[in-house]
């Protein structure tokens, strides 16, 4: 019979305990057998392999980002744009008006903790000549001193404010995550990791979108995203609801389109699970787009809706993106 009290080094105590707990031993032995008889579904092994493959795929997909030189917090440069930007930090300017540069680079590595954080800031270069820049002048040279009369000054103010707000928000969010991470790393208990990366996912005539990817882990972890979209015309930050005309019914139309994609994906691949038509626990079902749902436009102008881990699927599915074809919503745009 297995001893259940061998954890105590003290012999006298051990004896007393073993007498006290002897009656438990039979029970525990039976319970142990019952436990080991819990059947493990055959599918489990396949799903383990799938999890391993998925993690490997994802690790490979991570492209190292070259850290740009330190750049001042917000730069709205005068019309001499290109030269100055070059001088400030070797930022390639190829006719682009908006850029995200790594403003803070935070690295940490210890036995149990690792962090790899790149905090971006958005930089806007030359507002006045924006139409000239967008018209595809690759060198990024602008007609100097050009003034656009009506409303440009206002637009510039708005844009400047928007960019400042977005940059401030990014700083706040990342500072908080770094502080949390640093605190637990200082305590040194358990494990932790923090990864933050950024990517410009949209930069067309109308919109600029910066995507912040956040992986926060302590033993297990979670992936989440923050996307910042700036409307270059209005100079304002836009949420998904701002894209569409009021009363256009976009919410139902796009949500249903995504639900349909979930159904198709589940029908095609039994490994895929989304919270849609889940009758056992209807509350889990996805409730449709949030007002501030993460999104961006891809190069073809389709709407890409971005979901955090757990938002629309069980955790093993990871974070998810669904692309809604522009033909679906084009008529509803403002």
């Amino acid at each position: 019979m297995r001893k259940i009290v061998d954890y105590n080094e003290n012999k006298a105590e051990k004896l007393a305990e073993s007498q006290a707990f002897t009656e438990l031993e039979n029970g525990i032995e039976a319970a142990r057998e019952a436990y080991q008889d819990i059947p493990v579904p055959e599918e489990m092994r396949r799903r383990m392999e799938e999890a391993i493959r998925r993690a490997k795929r994802e690790r490979r997909a991570k492209i190292p980002v070259i850290v740009a030189a330190a750049v001042a917090l917000l730069i709205i440069l005068p019309n001499t744009g290109a030269d100055v930007a070059y001088a400030m930090g070797n930022i390639p300017v190829v006719g682009k008006l908006f850029q995200a540069v790594t403003f803070r680079d935070y690295q940490y590595e210890s036995e149990r903790f690792d962090a790899n954080v790149e905090v971006p800031q958005i930089i806007v270069e030359d507002i006045g000549g924006k139409e000239d820049v967008i018209s595809g002048n690759e060198a990024g040279a602008q007609e100097e001193g050009q003034e656009h009369g009506d409303g440009t000054a206002n637009g510039l103010d708005t844009l400047q404010q928007t960019v400042e707000q977005v940059n401030f928000d990014i700083e706040e969010v990342t500072n908080q995550l770094i502080e949390e991470f640093q605190r637990s790393a200082d305590l040194g208990e358990s494990y932790g990791s923090l990864e933050i990366h950024h990517e410009t996912v949209t930069d067309n005539e109308r919109y600029f979108t910066l995507k912040l990817s956040i992986y926060q882990g302590a033993g297990s972890g979670s992936e989440s995203y923050k996307l910042y979209t700036i409307d270059k015309q209005s100079g304002q930050r836009v949420q998904i609801r701002d894209l569409f005309r009021e009363g256009s019914g976009y919410h139902e139309l796009i949500s249903e389109n995504i639900r349909e994609q979930m159904r198709t994906a589940m029908a095609e691949d039994e490994m895929k699970v989304y919270w849609v038509d889940y009758e056992e626990v209807p509350e889990w079902n996805w409730q449709g787009l949030k007002d501030d749902q993460n999104f961006y436009f891809d190069h073809a102008g389709n709407l890409v809706v971005v979901f955090d881990e757990y938002e629309i699927a069980p955790g093993y599915m990871g974070a998810q993106e669904f692309t809604v074809d522009r033909s679906v919503f084009e008529g509803l745009l403002k």
């Binding site: 319970a31 436990y35 383990m48 882990g217 699970v273 955790g315």
Partner: protein, 155 residues
């Protein structure tokens, strides 16, 4: 170096997935959910394999990842499981053989985990301390209390 750690975690996962599954199952009592948890835990462990510095901790680390994943899962869907757990326990009540098992079922999660790791999975106390990131004496006294509780329940 990175791929070596990955290979290590991978082999631990494939060797022990049945244990992780049983542990997860005794938390959630539902096949589909237990599989979700273990699959997700495996994914996390692989993804973070390189953050593991000490290879000799690998197997307790994976356990820890699994337990945390399960806890997060439970936290997320807490209400459903309280109900489920009640049903499960009462359904088994009439069977004498599983008497102690049903008492273990009713234990709070932390205590249940201790019993499972120590007696069903044969982990040593120092392994359990590593898995739970507690110091050894805390684990000892908690296990002792849990056993006393079980004994009282049974008599």
């Amino acid at each position: 170096m990175r791929s070596r750690k990955e290979a290590l975690i991978r082999s631990i996962l494939l060797e022990n997935y049945e244990s992780y599954y049983r542990l997860a199952f005794s938390y959630v009592h539902r096949e589909a959910d237990a599989m979700d948890i273990v699959q997700e835990g495996a994914y996390k462990a692989m993804l973070k394999a390189n953050s593991l510095q000490e290879e000799s901790f690998a197997s307790t680390w994976v356990y820890r990842v699994m337990i945390n994943t399960a806890k997060n899962y439970l936290k997320k869907y807490n209400r459903e499981y309280e109900v489920l757990q009640e049903e499960n326990v009462t359904a088994k009540e009439d069977c004498i053989e599983i008497d102690l098992q049903s008492v273990v079922e009713k234990l709070p999660l932390e205590e249940k985990t201790l019993i499972i790791l120590r007696f069903y999975e044969d982990k040593t106390l120092s392994e359990i301390a590593q898995i739970l990131q507690e110091n050894l004496s805390t684990v000892k006294s908690r296990l002792y209390r849990t056993l006393q509780k079980l004994r009282k329940e049974l008599s």
